[in-house]
């Protein structure tokens, strides 16, 4: 399959890239690792007149801690996120999520910025973005803005990014205390998109009470969602399986998932509850292990 013809623009600095985007706007598409855009172009679902290739731009691939947050450059690949020591220690939810994307080859090329800007409603990262209350940084020649994950995903393949903006960074919390995280993804074949994916983060205190909770779901609607009902049901409650079973039951609240070739809407709603329970159980175990290890 040959992708449609396009003209190529290769900026050598971020500023140049932003200028090009402001000039070409809707006629241009940004290319990084290519693992979302190239398949779309082959299928003629995207036929941009101009492609702005940012894959070789310096200074957009990093993972570092700054003032209690972890900043991740847009060009950081899934493979780098999967194997990051900093994330393993300070936010393993993101590295586990990255490890479940596609396959080894896809993770070597695909970037976090590209995946988020593409906004596939069944992609893996958005669940973690919701659970972690992540921030997404967009730049244009007009300046920089920080967008909350809950304001970023607008619909299937649609984000809050404007046509002259480039996603440059993702910010997530550096987790503290007795925390635990888990990503549970339901698939029937290796390397598939999630039928339902659930990202969970919990923090417990010395008395065994849940003090923080974040739960994000993907594959269950036009965008990833935050399971607010589940979170409400967890915070302030004892860190027990009973609490988790009860809270998970609320995962399907307000969900109206699509029916498609892989699963019915009804099945996805049922599995949202099951996968939430599994993710939270594993997160709870990790949090308890951390308490044991440090207490």
């Amino acid at each position: 399959m040959y992708p449609p013809r396009f003209s190529l623009i290769v900026p050598s600095t971020l500023d140049e890239a932003l200028e090009i985007l402001s000039k070409y706007g809707e006629n241009a598409k940004v290319l990084a690792g290519g693992h979302s855009l190239i398949p779309l172009m082959k299928l003629r679902l995207a036929s941009p007149k101009y492609i702005v290739y940012i894959g070789k731009l310096q200074g957009l691939s990093y993972i570092r801690e700054e003032a209690g947050r972890i900043h991740i450059g847009a060009l950081t690949t899934h493979a780098t996120i999967e194997s990051s020591d900093l994330l393993a220690k300070r936010n393993p939810l993101l590295s586990e999520t990255a490890s479940r994307i596609g396959d080894l080859q896809v993770r070597n090329m695909g970037t976090i910025g590209g995946s988020l800007a593409h906004a596939d409603p069944a992609a893996d990262y958005p669940a973690a973005m919701m659970a972690l209350n992540a921030e997404i940084v967009a730049k244009s020649i007009r300046g920089e803005r920080v967008i909350k994950a809950s304001d970023f995903f607008k619909g299937p393949f649609t984000t809050a990014l404007r046509s002259d903006e480039l996603l440059v960074e993702v910010r997530i919390p550096a987790l503290n205390g007795f925390f635990g995280t888990a990503y549970e993804k339901l698939v029937f074949r290796a390397m598939d998109f999630a039928i339902v994916g659930v990202a969970a983060m919990l923090e417990i205190d010395k008395t065994g009470t849940i003090v923080k909770a974040g739960v994000g779901l993907t594959g269950v609607g036009s965008t990833a969602v935050r399971a607010k009902g589940v979170e409400e049901e967890l915070i302030g409650k004892p860190a027990s399986i009973d609490t988790i079973v009860k809270a998970s039951a609320r995962a399907s609240e307000n969900l109206n998932p699509p029916s498609d070739i892989r699963a019915s809407s009804e099945y996805r709603r049922a599995m949202a509850v099951v996968m939430t329970r599994r993710a939270l159980s594993r997160a709870l175990e990790a949090a308890k292990a951390r308490m044991k290890g440090q207490g």
Partner: protein
């Protein structure tokens, strides 16, 4: 900043340097097969599912049907043709031969290149880890059993062992 209709790329493939003027939409797999004549890299599904087009780009396994050739500019590529040295098969190739890890052979170059990347990072893998590593490579003949066996055999051989259990 100029919008290019043609782009000049220089790549090192299996140790040899090539320069070509290409159409930006040319896929890396077509560059490797049609411009360089290295047809060991296969086009299977052409949708980044099957892994038959896997090559090593700058040390990492990638699916060359889902990259534009210009994205490899300035880079180093290794294809299945570049594995043998002085007429001797690479241990992974030898492992496939010894363990009957192929029938039709169509997926084999991709399998081998994926394992080349994987075993360089994980020289002592478990069977489970091997199975996960080749998630992105589809074989429709062998049922994977002998491919996994070959991967473990190759790992052993590359660590300096005999290759047998």
């Amino acid at each position: 900043m100029e919008a290019l209709e043609k782009v000049r790329i220089t790549v090192k493939v299996n140790g040899k340097i090539y320069t070509h003027d290409i159409d930006p939409r040319l896929l890396l797999v077509h560059y490797i097969r049609d411009y360089l004549g290295l047809t060991g890299t296969h086009v299977g599904c052409d949708t980044s599912n099957c892994g038959a087009c896997t090559v090593i780009l700058n040390g990492k396994a990638v699916k060359s049907c889902t990259l534009y050739a210009f994205m490899a500019d300035g880079g180093e590529i290794l294809t299945v043709e570049g594995l043998e040295k002085d007429g001797k098969l690479h241990p992974i190739q030898e492992a496939f031969w010894e363990n009957h890890a192929l029938q039709c052979g169509f997926c084999t170059p991709g399998m081998i290149m994926t394992l080349y990347d994987f075993l360089s990072r994980n020289p002592r893998p478990t069977e489970e880890e091997v199975r996960r590593a080749i998630e992105g490579n589809l074989c429709r003949c062998t049922g994977y059993q002998n491919i996994v066996k070959a991967a473990l055999w190759a790992a052993e051989r590359m660590r300096g062992g005999g290759g047998d259990e």
